[in-house]
Symmetry: C2
Subunit: 261 residues, 2 copies
DNA sequence: GATTTGGTTCCATTAAGTGAAACTATGTCT
DNA sequence: AGACATAGTTTCACTTAATGGAACCAAATC
């Protein structure tokens, strides 16, 4: 089983194409996609047609270029509301943000990558890479490491090979061994630090959000810049952060099944 | 109630199922979906499996209930950034919001319904139904009517039958004829008013965002509550609103094809 | 211990997706 | 203008994948 291609059936292929368009980050022409994908011309063409038909993609009138359709925005609104812990964590993040006055991030893991589902920004003075809906690598972010550390062995084994270990900064982990070593420490301490591993000058302290069963369902972090605070100063916020994470976890507990009728 | 139905191929069906889950607004069990959908058991089962596999749905560990997957949030982030006019309109909305101090909405039309793609809220004192990503009917919102009014005949004919004309308030249009009549007035005036047609106590003034070619690509509105302002007061903001809409339209003009590399 | 309810798997049937190649529409070079 | 490439669309014999009725299994419920 290779690195990628678990495209089950036609639906898988269609979604694969959708993802390709998403990755391009802008309008893509047919021939560009043809080059990137391994699908033959006609097949790709039909898949695109179908996706456009379905409103998942929209086609530029003039150029014929493809971009993601607005239907996705609508679906995601629902997804965010019903599937992420964002709505539930909201008040807790607000409280934490008000108290510490720094940027707060809420993240979940998605297929080996970190997905930011909500955030509060301290001030627009500096801008972290992260925004709600954005993705980031797990191995070099506070939230990522916090989640990885508390993942059950099996899940971690599945996720580790998905990490690229690209050295964003001199402080970035560049191999599984050193990361695993740190994960051990994180398990012991209960929080993870990002020591400018993803972005130079940006540091954070992160805590996993867990259910009583121990299952990790996400992470919260307090992020700041080195010009504003030191790691030690962040460290001082540990109790407050853990409290917030615990509060969110507790609330997630009795939420399993919002009974519909 | 169905209507709908133009499910092309397997992909269409899968997306149809996805939408069904989205509509439920929460975890759904297999049998619930089985009841709602016209698909046979085995077929529905496989479709769900595929979607879960693909991360478009996630399945609750304990109950086996389905909900929308986080992958959607990720995709939507891209969709929002690349396919809506939100990023481009951002500074203009900020400016307008700062100036008028009321709630600003930016919307596009999607399959006959209004999709809010961005907003600025005046104060959290009152909460409009609208939020980024949310949908609302076209026939009873300011932005909706502004867009409908300037749509080319053919497009409008396609969209009108999709309106439900549900009477949210006493002021809501309840038939195509009265709506069409107002659309004429809106075309003449250049702006649309929401006179508590969707939500009691909420009024707005909306302007279409158009390209030089005349094509409508969205609408901006200034919304407020009747307790804060009258329609006449809103009317006074018309020049400022039109200016904002024009500015966004002008910017959208030279944006057609952001040249990728 | 028997029966219902909710979910999963089988497998012959059939429909749907496939893709090489032919075709059309649009530039672009000489 | 004619020739030539380039980008996108359609065709059609072929192959694969989706279908769904029915059987099956598991866990609640009688």
């Amino acid at each position: 089983m290779g690195g990628e291609g678990h495209a089950d059936g036609t639906v898988g292929k269609a979604l694969d194409v959708l993802e390709m368009v998403a990755d391009q980050g802008g309008p893509v022409r047919f021939s560009d996609l043809l080059e990137i994908s391994r699908y033959p011309k006609a097949t790709l063409y039909r898949l695109l047609q179908t996706l456009v038909n379905q409103g998942m993609l929209s086609q530029d009138a003039g150029s014929g270029a493809y971009r993601l359709g607005v239907r996705l925005v609508r679906l995601a609104h629902n997804a965010w509301a019903q599937s992420s812990l964002a709505p539930l964590a909201r008040p807790h993040l607000d409280a934490l943000a008000a108290e510490v006055g720094e940027a707060i991030h809420l993240a979940q893991i998605d297929n080996g990558h970190i997905l930011f589902v909500d955030k509060r920004k301290s001030t627009d003075m500096f801008e972290t890479l992260a925004q709600a809906g954005r993705v980031a690598p797990a191995y070099c972010t506070g939230v990522g490491k916090a989640i990885l550390a508390f993942l059950p062995q099996a899940a971690r084994d599945k996720v580790m090979p998905q990490q690229s270990f690209h050295p964003y900064t001199p402080a970035t982990h560049t191999d599984p061994a050193s990361l695993l070593a740190e994960l051990g420490i994180i398990r012991a301490e209960g929080v993870a630090f990002d020591r400018e591993e993803h972005e130079r000058g940006i540091i954070s302290i992160a805590a996993p959000i867990q259910l009583r069963s121990g299952r990790v369902i996400g992470a919260v972090s307090i992020a700041t810049s080195t010009s504003r605070h030191t790691l030690e100063e962040l460290s001082a916020l540990k109790p407050r952060l853990l409290h917030c994470a615990a509060a969110i976890g507790a609330e997630a507990e009795n939420w399993q099944f919002p009974e519909i009728f």
